[in-house]
């Protein structure tokens, strides 16, 4: 065990994740990153087919999911978005 | 080889042309000298010298030179092992002087197992010098009466210098050259790694003899009797540089329940018989790990008793 790891273990530093109680009326805000060519097209098609899903899903179009930067996901969570969906 | 370098019993036995027989003992994991005395009592009179290991497998035990000193008190000749892992050249030289001062006359020079799998993997290792350089250093102190830095020392530690050789480690084709290097560095005797692959060892010895190495140095063949099939399998798989042929494992397995230890001893005895006749082999180093009480029996059955008085 490294000095650091043992420090973590001994001092009981809190873990990265913190859990919260979820209120019963809560609904998540979800951000999807979608590849222009496939997932964004699929989202369009679901509209064309009038398939319904909750309004708390918003989509940001990327030229390819290869463009999905770590910071996009982190920024979303940082700003309080509850779920990030990457599709491509 | 008439002028004795150290005058140790082992050196005398070998120089007199006897087939040498050495044993081995690990110091206690604590300051319990009674247990140490109990273990070495089995070896008294059975062997020409007893190797005292130096924090073997990087597990901390009583210091090898202190344990060696206890052996001397008990009238048994120690073969003091020293590894390069735990000391720099200052400590090494001072320990050599101290060892000699308490009456130690044999020293086996080793690099030492890496601490990673010992009981203090957090340790910083030293390896200021390696085993080859340790041999040369001991020889320099003894023969030139100088420290490594060329400074004169007053009384030279007259040690019988030993080194280890593992014919089975890789690259095997280089092993005999490494043996030659150790001899050139100043090794007076060699103790080999435990031998199980006799074919490979025969081949190794043939090369050594062809190079005349046996004339420059005494080579003691390493023998460790197998206690069980499990031990054989463990050594085959887990111990680096150990070559345990499948045929031997099968032989032990074939011996049947409760008879494997006896089969292991039988194999060791067959080996010793062969080593007696093998050109270039000057003796046997028996590493009966935690089986010291079996040494008298093995010595007896191998026809190695009584040990010569020289």
């Amino acid at each position: 065990m490294t000095e650091e790891a043992s420090a973590v273990a001994q001092e009981g530093v809190s873990s990265v994740e913190k859990t919260h109680d979820i209120p019963s009326d809560w609904s998540p805000n979800i951000l999807a990153f979608a590849c222009h060519y496939c997932a964004f097209a699929a989202a369009d098609l679901s509209g064309v087919m009038r398939l319904s899903y909750p309004t708390n899903v918003k989509i940001i179009r990327l030229p390819c999911t290869g463009k999905l930067d770590h910071i996009y996901i982190l920024r979303a969570f940082e700003k309080g978005i509850d779920g990030v969906f990457a599709a491509g | 080889m008439n002028d004795l370098k150290s005058g140790s019993n082992l050196e005398k036995v070998l120089s007199a042309g006897h087939f040498a027989f050495t044993g081995e003992c690990g110091p206690p994991k604590g300051a319990n000298i009674d247990h140490l005395k109990e273990k070495i009592a089995h070896l008294k009179g059975m062997v020409d010298a007893v190797n005292i290991t130096d924090n073997q497998t990087a597990v901390v035990r009583m210091s090898s030179w202190a344990a060696s000193a206890i052996l001397i008190q008990e009238g048994i000749e120690p073969n003091f092992q020293m590894v390069c892992r735990d000391r720099n050249r200052l400590a090494i030289q001072s320990d050599i002087l101290g060892a000699y001062a308490v009456g130690i006359r044999n020293m086996l020079c080793l690099s030492g197992d890496h601490q990673r799998f010992g009981n203090h993997p957090q340790a910083k290792n030293v390896f200021d010098i390696d085993s080859m350089q340790l041999i040369a250093l001991a020889k320099k102190m003894r023969d030139e009466g100088k420290f490594l830095n060329e400074e004169e020392l007053d009384v030279a530690p007259r040690l019988f210098i030993g080194a280890a050789s593992n014919p089975f480690a890789d690259p095997t084709e280089f092993r005999v050259y490494r043996l030659a290097k150790k001899i050139a560095s100043g090794a007076d005797f060699i103790q080999t790694q435990c031998i199980y692959n006799m074919d490979l060892f025969r081949d190794f010895m043939k090369k050594a003899v062809d190079m005349g190495l046996h004339e420059k140095c005494y080579i003691l063949a390493g023998v460790t009797p197998m206690k069980s099939v499990g031990m054989a399998q463990y050594m085959a798989k887990a111990v680096p540089g150990m070559d345990v042929p499948e045929s031997l494992i099968n032989r032990l397995r074939g011996a049947g329940k409760g008879k494997t230890a006896e089969e292991g001893i039988k194999f060791a005895l067959e080996q010793i018989e062969e080593f007696k006749e093998m050109e270039g082999v000057a003796g046997v180093h028996l590493m009966a790990i935690e089986w010291e009480h079996k040494v008298p029996e093995i010595a007896e059955r191998a026809g190695l008793l009584p040990r010569p008085k020289v």
């Binding site: 990265v16 940082e78 | 990673r116 350089q133 490494r178 540089g241």
Partner: protein
Amino acid sequence: MIVGKQKPFEVIWDMIKEYKKVLIFGCNTCVAICHEGGNKEAEILASMLRMKAKQEGLEMEIKNRGIERQCEHEFFDSANEQIEWADAVLSIACGAGVQFTAEKWPKKIILPGLNTTFIGVVERPGLFAERCLMCGDCILHLTGGLCPIARCSKSLLNGPCGGSSKGKCEISKEVDCVWDMIVRKKMEQGRLEDLLRITPAKDWQTSRDGGPRKSVKEGLVE
């Protein structure tokens, strides 16, 4: 190049949590190449720490920026303002960069975000491996271009030891036995005799054992 590894997130958090304004300070040369300490990692780390602060209910401001190299005075100019702003700077440069930042800002709290691990190469993309221990007295001409000081677990100069097995070191099957490689290379080159000579004990004075080192380039030094 110098290879580093980010400290565990919890350890970093523990270091910075008492400060109100923290700058995550990247270095865009060696440690950026190993994807541990460049602009991108600074950006990611800052974001994660901001989230952590929020979860812990702490009022903290955490920003990020990077400079070309934290081991040279001139590059710092562009970051002065932000360093000035911060209560504490978490440098994710190598140990040299962290210290140089600390020297330049003696009153600032400068914290290390990386563990500086070794001087190495990019063996494969994403796989960095140690090659040099900076002993100050290179012997690669003797050992076929393979350094036993850095790459033998015991730094043996007269290897291989008896633990060498199938080209691997006794400490792990993941670690190559460099002495096995040296012997084979010398044999292939027909220069085995080089290895039959005994290498004497090394003079470690040129290494760190001789104390902290400096190097002077005549003509450049002011």
